[in-house]
């Protein structure tokens, strides 16, 4: 089924292809996809950025490959093929991060390898890259990746600020600050994400109410 907002194969690549993933179809705040890494690695800003970039890279590369192979992959084994393609790029990322910073690698733990089962990436491959050209798929994945990174940053900054009193490792508050430790522990992740979703759903309701009032005014 084609969504009317998704351009077909011949449609030109424009800014919307990119922006769709950041705002309207934000993987975390709107589609609620890829929740596990979102909650698990956002206890500091640095972890959040690394995870966001790693996921974006994997999504970009796998989209490009899936899209260029889309006429050759048999329909019956497509999911298995996508997963193998994704797993290959995740292995690459895994070794690269291990080579750059062992400390960072340890703090992210198994979650780098768990990018494989991030449903967001498989979702992109299945719903977009398998039906569109290489350029269009790459632009779209880049948008979704940036949207994902922004969402991780939103969570990571709040959690690090409240739970550790710092941002990117630099202390923000003075000496007397009592960190709200629960925020960097598991429950904090759930609460902060719930808080962001609450904010967005409140904004959406407010907009809907305003639109309704406008309609009533214009109707009268």
């Amino acid at each position: 089924m084609q969504d009317f907002r998704h351009p077909t194969e011949s449609a030109p690549v424009n800014m919307d292809t990119f922006l769709l993933g950041i705002w309207e179809e934000n993987p975390v705040f709107v589609m609620l996809l890829g929740m596990c890494p979102v909650l698990a690695v956002t206890n500091s800003v640095l972890n959040a950025i690394t995870m966001g970039l790693a996921t974006t890279f994997v999504m970009l590369c796998s989209s490009a490959l899936v899209s260029s192979l889309r006429h050759h992959i048999p329909k019956q084994v497509r999911i298995a093929t996508y997963i193998v393609i994704i797993a290959t790029f995740v292995t690459v990322v895994d070794y690269v991060i291990q080579a750059i910073s062992l400390e960072l690698y340890r703090s992210l733990g198994a979650f780098i390898q768990l990018i494989v089962v991030n449903c967001m990436i498989l979702g992109r491959a299945e719903s977009y890259a398998s039906r569109h050209g290489v350029v269009s798929s790459m632009v779209n994945s880049l948008g979704v990746g940036v949207g994902f990174t922004i969402a991780l940053l939103c969570l990571g900054s709040v959690r690090e600020l409240l739970g550790n009193g710092s941002l990117l490792g630099f202390a923000i508050f003075g000496e007397g600050f009592q960190p709200w430790v629960i925020m960097i522990l598991p429950p904090g992740g759930f609460f902060v994400l719930a808080g962001w979703l609450l904010l967005f759903s409140w904004m959406k309701q407010r907009d809907a109410r305003r639109a309704q009032q406008e309609e009533v005014l214009h109707g009268a």
Partner: protein, 193 residues
Amino acid sequence: MEHESLSFIFLNALIINNFVFSLYLGICPFLGVSGKIDTAWHMGLATTFVMLVSSVCAFVINSLLVQFGIEYLRLICYIAVIASAVQLVEMTTKKFSPTLFRALGIFLPLITTNCAILGLALFQTFREYDFLQSLVYSIGAGLGFTVAILLMAGLRERLDLSSVPDVSQGAVLSLTLAGILSLAFMGFAGLGS
């Protein structure tokens, strides 16, 4: 790690380091299929079963990979093994127990992308568990997931009957609930030391 006793591994996977509440694995099915106690129970059972099968497979595969010195293929092998294990489980239940197959139905294919399964396989490799330890670990983790999803389903069934503010309906409420449950599970942390 030889010094970890089997009962400790089991308890550790079941409550102290519960896969959902303290490791954040398997959040998607945890939020997605925790609407009713009945379906949650089936999902939990199916997940436990696949965990058991894939844990055994992962153990065998890993010892093979180590033998040949090609550990960099671990991730690709694991995910392929899990996908085929799910397929196998689906075919076997369809053949031998059609009732169970109908009950599990749509959940089985979904389990492939449950990160708890791959997470389990990776953790048991990192911690260098032997065969029996991996087996106990996978059963503990599976039951832990079942406990988590059942608790959540029970709470959500009660919530359906109460009136909550419009803004906080859906995902917001589920996540807050999960946070409170996770807060409660933090109390078990002392058990490990």
